[in-house]
Amino acid sequence: MKATVLVRPKHGILDPQGQAVESSLRQLGFAVGEARVGRVVDLEVESDDPAGARAEVERMCEQLLANPLIESYEIELAAPDD
């Protein structure tokens, strides 16, 4: 089963990378508000059971993929037919 993890800097955490991207976009003439830069992790999980797979990916996020002090995460599981 395929899973996608989105890791983002937590709300309120200064994101200098996002600020740099934001100011570059403005220089290019785009009217953008705040830009935040996170990270995407695509995974293949052995489990075919969505609940089990989600629980396992959650453990991965807690232990390694995100640092809870500064990052939040979201897990998306691909539909079983994909």
Partner: protein
């Protein structure tokens, strides 16, 4: 029993680059340093451990995030839990934070620029095994070289650390955007310390400053005391 030279382990991770400097500096300060490879599951008989600077595992994911799961780190956690002295320098500091052995986390510098220069520091505490040779309020000059040295803790954690006096070193001027200019912290028990500046690059006046020797020789002295006390 005499043990004039305490044995200090220097961990080696793939991507480390300051391990040899740490080894050299500890030798120069009359310790007997030994390398410990990251795949070791047990530490040799040691009086202290140093996690040197560098870019362990290429700094992938987050600095220190992968290294904290190295087999040797489990042994370091057990060593620290037993009261053993552990000093993390730069990447070593990042690893200790990721491993929850130290509070907070190191983030990309606010400027997004790599900072590489001598910086002024203020010693906040001298009753630690890492700063006993310093004077309170003393200003030290020690080089930094990092892209991710911006130490962060949220309000609750920061206030807790202030109350328990766990901030040991501060920058005397803004360097990387660190919260309240924090440059080095200890754990609650006081036997684990991390700092972004590199004392191992500053133990000989020939290198511009020897202030780093105050930190490292404090550690060597404390390690010697532990060796003499039979731990």
């Amino acid at each position: 029993m005499t043990s004039p030279q305490p044995r200090i382990g220097v961990l080696r991770f793939p991507g480390a680059c300051d391990d040899r400097d740490a080894l050299w500096a500890l030798s120069a300060l009359d310790a007997e340093p030994v390398f410990v490879w990251h795949t070791e599951t047990e530490l040799p008989d040691l009086d202290a451990v140093v996690l040197p600077g560098g870019f362990s595992y290429g700094d992938y994911l987050r600095c220190g995030a992968i290294a904290r799961f190295a087999p040797a780190m489990e042994a370091v956690a057990a060593f620290a839990a037993d009261g053993g002295l552990v000093l993390g320098i730069c990447n070593g500091f990042q690893i200790l934070c990721e491993a929850d052995l130290l509070p907070g986390v190191l983030r990309p510098n606010e400027s997004l620029s790599f900072v590489c220069r001598d910086v002024p520091l203020v010693v906040e505490r001298t009753d630690t095994p890492f700063t006993s040779r310093c004077a309170e309020g003393e200003r030290l000059t020690i080089p930094v070289k990092h892209g991710e040295g911006c130490w962060f803790a949220d309000d609750a954690l920061y206030n807790e650390l202030e109350t328990s006096r766990q901030i040991v070193l501060r920058y005397a001027e803004p360097v990387n955007g660190s919260r309240n200019d924090v440059a080095g912290v200890v754990n609650e028990r006081g036997n684990v310390m991390g700092l972004m500046p590199h004392p191992e690059h500053a133990v000989d006046p020939l290198l511009g400053t020897a202030d780093g020797a105050l930190i490292l020789s404090s550690l060597v002295e404390a390690a010697r005391d532990r060796a003499l006390a039979g731990h």
